[in-house]
Symmetry: C2
Subunit: 980 residues, 2 copies
């Protein structure tokens, strides 16, 4: 390919007669014509980071028998086509694919692409590592994956590559938090193409397809221009020129088939239809679709002709003006249009594509994968922080950390965390994430060796603790040290569970002090046991208190009668079922649970000074119409029979009720001494394949919630839901009354009356609702037919969906008095659930010596409502620090603190504040401001937002007071600290 390189080299320098000067961004936008309908033609390709094929299969065009798609060729041929004409444009959306491609290019090709980027011809749009889902993702991982994508672009191309608009054209519903994050990253707007069909129909009529989304109740500037595409992103009315399509090309030659007249007629008729639905004289027509532009030549050859012949009509009085453009350039034109737009305050869930298809199944689909993704984030934050503390810098270490960052970016893809991918792809995601976690775990290991000054320590991570397996504790648990890492800012106490073979262990802390511990049996239901090949049938439980790092020594002890060695308490197994007259009571100083011995179900919860009858049960929807995307209720939900087998383990530290509902559903209800929440550890599966089912858990209380309940938005702000209602339209409830009321629950769902609130926190995303007052429902597991919402791809899904998989997880119940500040405990619990201690295991023999551990910066000085959202290596001599006030304007207050000590602790010499993603100095942020309807007269000049506060910028020579940080409710601030 040397010749090719030379050829591009020649091109590059031959074309550039004057010194290169980047004219990108809005300055590079095509000229438009006043008094014309300006048609912004946007060539784009929608390249899923995994769906029917794996990421690499998509990239390389492998397994085209499954789906014809090869991203390498898309970028190759698009670049070739862009070179040919400076008017041509293309938007690159998925940075993961672009980065993979970039890595394989010669220096000369890279130079050419840089030129294209610098001239706005190749415009990065959205720019995150993948096009993330918006229902099942946690904001933490969304921020991370934008950081990764935008950082790649910034490091590779500089400011010209910075995306201006969000482009979430495929996700199946849209969250308010996503819009809020866009605003915090300085985006000027976002576009998408899926919306409830009734909402869209109304907006078509009202010319309200474009709106101003007030994306936060707490943050004042989180307002984002949001546009719905006129049509589905892949559908432009017969004008798909792609090699994958069958629409007629433009035939302008001397041919019997010459069709210029009719093709231009049809296109202008389409444009007229579009133009009638928008407020300015600009319309955007995207030309592209799934994996299009693999043979970009075809697309551009025909689009060139389309542009030529549409504009040629201007000579005959046509007022249509068409040109290559980008969503950014379209938005720029719209911004200059000085129109006002309707307001939007809630979100776009659930998405109904028709009256029978509510895409709510994917909130829960593939629950094990949804959980594994959380493990990935857990490891990622652990490894990031440890890498900063230990200053890991080897190429391998950087590569390993980057790899997990990237794979976590992939996992946010709208066909990954959603569980809507093909089974083989799901398996590949597992492989990728597993490998990436292993790599990052190596970094954590390296870091701990440095930080503990114990270079022989194994610091092994056990990735199967969720099923109480750990080779390390199984094989050498007689004398093990577990080192706990706390990713949170503040010192916390948590109960730690370690799978062990036997029953006799003692636990000591770093100072050799005995720590109270108990052994409980692992509760695996009959069917599940078949799939579990393990001999560790117990878990050792003890409470640990950790600032950042702490180690505990677990030692097997001989069970000798009467000797001095501590003898763990063997829990008494009390079978209480069939004992009709009695109740079972579990009680700590904080909580009292009453179990109905007759039904075997939870009956009453007492905590926080409140008593409430809460019955918890499991239910199933028998379904034929559901798929990985949508939950379609064929019959009403039926709860399981009230014949639950019980076993109770009543210890000092932990009290557990083991419930067996049937062969494939069981649960442990658990309370810990000193912990103010009730834990429900459910175990479901394999769901019998003969009769597809969706399994829910339901908590029924007497709280008068009056049709109202609340769910989080991507784990951050809360959105109020009213049963059977939407903000902007009347939903179609006739066919799917339940599914129509399902919402994504990423971290919590609750309901309340004027006295009490019942809160459920979960450990992964799930769909949930409240179909009756006082009742909360969460979907935990699903077994669906192998069909797909999208008819045409139905047969591409194979039948071996892993519905047979056993899912296992936890819910946490908090019953609380309704008082503003009471939610703090919920928020703190959320953080602990999301980022608990990470456990590292070493042989006692390897770490059995006193070593002077490296001192770490102390984050305890941060106010309690401040979360250490991110601490990670940014460049070789820079660290990214992100702090968040995790209480909203109702729950919390403005907090101020000084980060000089942390800055010094990290060895900082300079600090600068950036947009949320870390890649743009906050002082440079200047976002489009649009005028909301009903907020006074429209300005006569285009308006902008800048940062609401002065960006922090300081160095170590400055006064400590210069390091003061104020956080409004829900505010996140991002800093880059340069180190010595």
């Amino acid at each position: 390919m040397k010749y090719f390189a030379f050829f591009l080299f020649v091109l590059l320098f031959a074309v550039d007669t004057k010194p290169t000067e980047a004219v990108c961004g809005y300055e590079s936008c095509p000229e438009t014509k006043p008094n014309f309908v300006n048609i912004h033609l946007v060539p784009h390709s929608h390249d899923d980071a995994g769906w029917l094929k794996t990421v690499d299969q998509y990239f390389y065009g492998h397994k085209n028998n499954i789906q014809h798609a090869g991203v390498q060729y898309i970028i190759d041929t698009v670049v070739s086509e862009l070179i040919k004409d400076p008017k041509r444009r293309f938007i690159q959306v998925e940075t993961s694919f672009f980065a993979k491609w970039w890595k394989q290019q010669s220096e000369t090709v890279k130079q050419v692409v840089k030129k294209l980027v610098n001239e706005g011809r190749l415009e990065f749009t959205n720019g995150a590592w993948s096009m993330n889902d918006e229902a099942a993702v946690n904001y933490h991982s969304v921020i991370d994956q934008f950081t990764v994508g935008l950082k790649f672009l910034d490091e590779t191309f500089g400011a010209c590559a910075r995306p201006r608009v969000g482009w979430q054209i495929d996700p199946f519903g849209h969250s308010r938090e996503q819009a809020s994050l866009y605003a915090q990253m300085g985006y000027d707007g976002e576009f998408f193409s899926r919306m409830d069909h009734k909402d869209k129909a109304r907006r078509m009529e009202d010319l309200s397809l474009e709106m101003i989304w007030d994306a936060s109740e707490s943050l004042s500037d989180a307002k984002l221009f949001t546009g719905l595409l006129y049509s589905s992103y892949w559908e432009t009315s017969g004008f798909c020129f792609d090699v994958l399509c069958r629409d007629d090309p433009i035939i302008d030659g001397d041919s019997y088939d010459n069709n210029v007249q009719t093709r231009v007629d049809d296109f202008i008729a389409y444009a007229a239809k579009v133009a009638a639905k928008f407020r300015t004289t600009h319309i955007m027509i995207p030309l592209g679709g799934d994996f299009q532009y693999e043979d970009a030549h075809i697309n551009y050859k025909n689009m060139d002709k389309l542009i030529k012949y549409v504009n040629a009509r201007q000579a005959n009085g046509s007022h249509y003006n068409i040109f290559y453009s980008t969503p950014g350039c379209y938005l720029n034109s719209v911004h200059k249009g000085l129109q006002s737009y309707p307001n939007k305050t809630q979100d776009f869930f659930p998405y109904a594509s028709d009256s029978n298809s509510f895409w709510t199944g994917y909130y829960t689909s593939r629950p094990t994968q949804k959980r594994f993704e959380r493990d990935g984030n857990h490891m990622l934050q652990t490894a990031k922080q440890l890498s900063v503390f230990a200053d890991l810098k080897s190429e391998q270490q950087k590569e390993d950390l980057d790899y997990l960052r990237q794979i976590m970016g992939v996992m946010q893809n709208h066909a990954a965390i959603t569980g809507t991918e093909k089974q083989a792809v799901s398996n590949d995601y597992d492989r990728l994430l597993y490998d990436a976690i292993i790599g990052a775990a190596r970094n954590a290991q390296d870091a701990l060796r440095v930080l503990t000054n114990l270079p022989d320590g194994e610091f092994e991570s056990c990735l199967q603790l969720n099923i109480s397996e750990c080779a390390f504790t199984q094989d050498s648990a007689d004398n093990v040290v577990v080192t706990l890492f706390n990713p949170l800012a503040h010192t916390t106490s948590q109960y730690v569970r370690v799978p062990v073979k036997e029953e006799n262990y003692q636990v000591t802390d770093e100072k050799g002090r005995l720590v109270a511990s108990e052994v409980v049996p692992v509760a695996w239901q009959v069917l599940a046991l078949r799939f579990r090949k393990n001999t560790t049938q117990h878990e050792l439980v003890f409470k640990a208190s950790v600032n950042k790092i702490a180690s505990y020594h677990i030692k097997k002890v001989v069970r000798r009668k009467g000797n001095a060695i501590f003898r763990p308490k063997r829990l008494k197994k009390v079978v209480t079922n069939n004992d009709e007259e009695s109740e079972t009571v579990l009680q700590t100083s904080l909580i009292k649970l009453v179990i109905d011995n007759n039904s075997g179900l939870l009956k009453t919860v007492e905590m926080n000074g409140l008593v409430e009858d809460i019955e918890q049960n499991f239910g199933v929807y028998n379904t034929k119409g559901s798929c990985l995307y949508s939950f379609r209720e064929d019959e009403p939900m039926s709860v399981l029979s009230n014949d639950v087998k019980l076993a109770v383990y009543d210890g000092d530290l932990v009290k557990e009720v083991h419930q067996e509902f049937n062969e494939w559903i069981s649960q442990v209800i658990r309370i810990y001494k000193g912990v103010n929440r009730v834990e429900f550890e459910w175990l479901i599966g394999p769901i019998p394949q003969t009769n597809p089912k969706e399994v829910i858990t339901v908590f029924d209380s007497g709280i008068s919630s009056e049709g109202t309940f609340y769910t989080d938005s991507n784990g951050r702000e809360t959105i109020k839901r009213e049963r059977d209602k939407r903000e902007d339209f009347t939903p179609d409830l006739e066919n799917q009354p339940t599914s129509a009321n399902y919402y994504p629950v990423t971290s919590r769902i609750y309901l309340q009356d004027n006295r009490k609130r019942m809160v459920l926190l979960n450990d992964r995303s799930q769909g949930g609702t409240s179909m009756n007052d006082g009742e909360l429902e969460l979907m935990l597991h699903r077994s669906v037919l192998s069909t797909n919402e999208v008819q045409s791809v139905a047969d591409l899904f194979d039948s071996d969906l892993d519905q047979g998989r056993i899912a296992h997880g936890k819910l946490f119940l908090i019953l609380n008095a309704l008082a503003k500040k009471n939610t703090v405990v919920e928020r703190l619990s959320e953080k602990e659930i999301h980022l608990p201690f990470w456990k590292f295991f070493s042989s006692y023999s390897k770490v059995n010596r006193n070593a002077a551990a490296k001192p770490l910066p102390d984050f305890n000085l941060l106010p309690k409502s401040v979360h250490l959202l991110t601490l990670e290596p940014f460049t070789d001599d820079e660290v990214l620090l992100r702090v968040e006030n995790f209480l909203d304007h109702i729950e919390g207050n403005v907090v101020s603190f000084n980060i000089r000590q942390i800055f010094d602790g990290l060895g900082g010499v300079e600090i600068r504040e950036t947009t949320l993603d870390g890649n743009m100095p906050l002082s440079e942020m200047k976002r489009f401001k649009f005028h909301a309807e009903g907020s006074g007269a429209v300005s006569t000049e285009a308006e902008f937002y800048t940062a609401a506060h002065k960006a922090l910028s300081a160095d170590s020579s400055m006064e400590a007071s210069e390091f003061s940080v104020t956080l409004n409710p829900m505010q996140i601030r991002t800093f880059i600290i340069r180190k010595k």
Copy 2:
């Protein structure tokens, strides 16, 4: 696209540091390695000029719902890819598509392509206008379509573009004449990929996939290297990288899916299998297929990798060496290999792809289209000659003539004349050919106005004379002049038939002399009449004698009793059927026919001093398994019932028996006064659709043919066929005994014993055989299910096949004594059938004056066995003249004659002899000579053929004797005459 132009411009001159010097042809071939298996990787695309889609649909990529194919993109992207690396190669085969593409290119792109051609990177292969069929084509049209294709290449690119090898990879069987023509055009060899499966299997074993084809029994140098591709042309064992394919790409990146090892293993294993079947150390692996390379980038990117990684193994001792190459370069290497090869003397018909699939149906499929193509040639030769005589030179005239040349080229395509195209495509061929004939007819009209000096003459052509329709004679036949043009060299007498409304006409010649004429009724069967909306129910018959041009005046006369005006004889209608005891006898001085009045069938033929009982009947094969390609016999053939309705018209000039066999089959048996052949005018259709049928005519005689019969090869040399036998292998006769004995009959089929021969001449190509001694069978019409031989495209064929169409045509029977020279009458008849007088009609009022006609050169001086094969404008001041000795070495002798008079008559100043196609001076022809097995020791040096005689090259200043021409039996010589 100005920018693109500039970009290529820069490229062109930047890369060319030294002055351009063409190194093309064999000199540009890649280096090979001794002691290696040299793998010639040949990128190619097989682009049908119509098949499932029309020519323009294929070119533009229109109607991709029918088949994904767009030739414009193929050439666009291939050129883009070739530019990138001088090692890359591509062969362009179909010149029709290339020429259409070329016309749309900018000057700069053209310069780039010239460079690619001049460096052998884009190599034209085959180079004819289309890839012609070899069964149903007449050699006349094959020569023409090669002339058109090669002329375009020569005029556009010069000698570097001249193809070296034939590339007939798709046609369904291969003719010896095609090989002979290749040799006469100076080709070094030909390659194809379809051969009877048993023949191929044997050749695989014998290493005789490559052979020396002794392609003429009369011409000594017509020996051609012929190679069968190892595999089907579109099948290379999992290595199709095309955008249309699904094979795995080569994944060489840092990927879990990296497959370099296995892909290279697999490829080398495949190459080893191929290498084992060939005689030299070179193998050819074509990579391509139907309409591949639409996204050439994908192909080249992966082929680059394949080459890289296969050759990389050489470092570890691999002896496989792979590089981009062409069939020409492969053949060049083989030629240097100095091997000997087996001989081949017959042809490759019929083609059986398996034991149940003999592709013999297409010899007859779409009989009306096959006939219309002959009309096209008829008009083409007429217009060519007239254009030369009248020296037509306007742009419009040249364009019109070129258009018919080109469309006739398209009609030779192996999915056109074969009738194997989709119905809509067949309709489009009709449209194209009709338009082209109309254009050429305009030229003929213009020429006649000049040549007759009658500028007001209409000289209208009637294109529906085959169904006895002509608007001109119907509407104004009261006073019409018919001007006859004779395309043959010699003055001939033929009976002329003109459809007329009434019954009373007189005919006079140019000198006003009365010409004997008769009126006969048109014999249209009941069903057929439904489809014929016409009031001309008679044909006026008279005998005309024409050198090149002659006119006859037809005038309606009043039928007045006893007056002086000539009163045409009304033929007596004699119904003889059901008259059990009698025979009907039709007799002229040359022929006596006896019809059995009981059966209504022909019974005895007496002519040329012989009497033979010959029964003629129609038969049908009821079939379910047949398709447009193959004829599959489900049940034995059944002859029609012997209950034929008869009507006899016994005139002085013409005697006719009208036979009606059933509602949809009828026939006229006809003899003319002074004409020594019996005419059978059959009329078949619409074939009832309920029961698919193939309709044959069968002539049963008492001649002891002993399993042997003879068919022509593309209308030229005769090939002996032995029932149930093949030259090189034992055919599989079990399933399809009849179809396995079917052969293409382009112009004649005959059988003989030691005394008599029975010859059938036809008016279009048909399939035929002799299943019983003394019996000849020809398939005339077919109604088949809409399925296709190729399973995968079966559903692409729509159901509205025009089987309902009525076919109508003529056969000519000659019963002759077995004597060498007696065949001359057959040969002469063939020429008259192929190129009869063309009829032009004018109103008498417009041409009713004496005008001095322009004198024309006289071709009567040519010996009787010499055919004026071609006389056509070549360039503005050049004329192409082609003369053929149409008798073979058994039938005729060497003839000599002098063409000075013709040269002068054409206004010649210089003459040069060329290869058969007219584009290469014969003196420059130098063809590869290969060593045939068993013909002595292999030479130690590569050998070549040059022209067997000294090329004629003269000018008007030279002695007349210098213009002497000698023609061996079957020899064709081609001259370019430069005019004043």
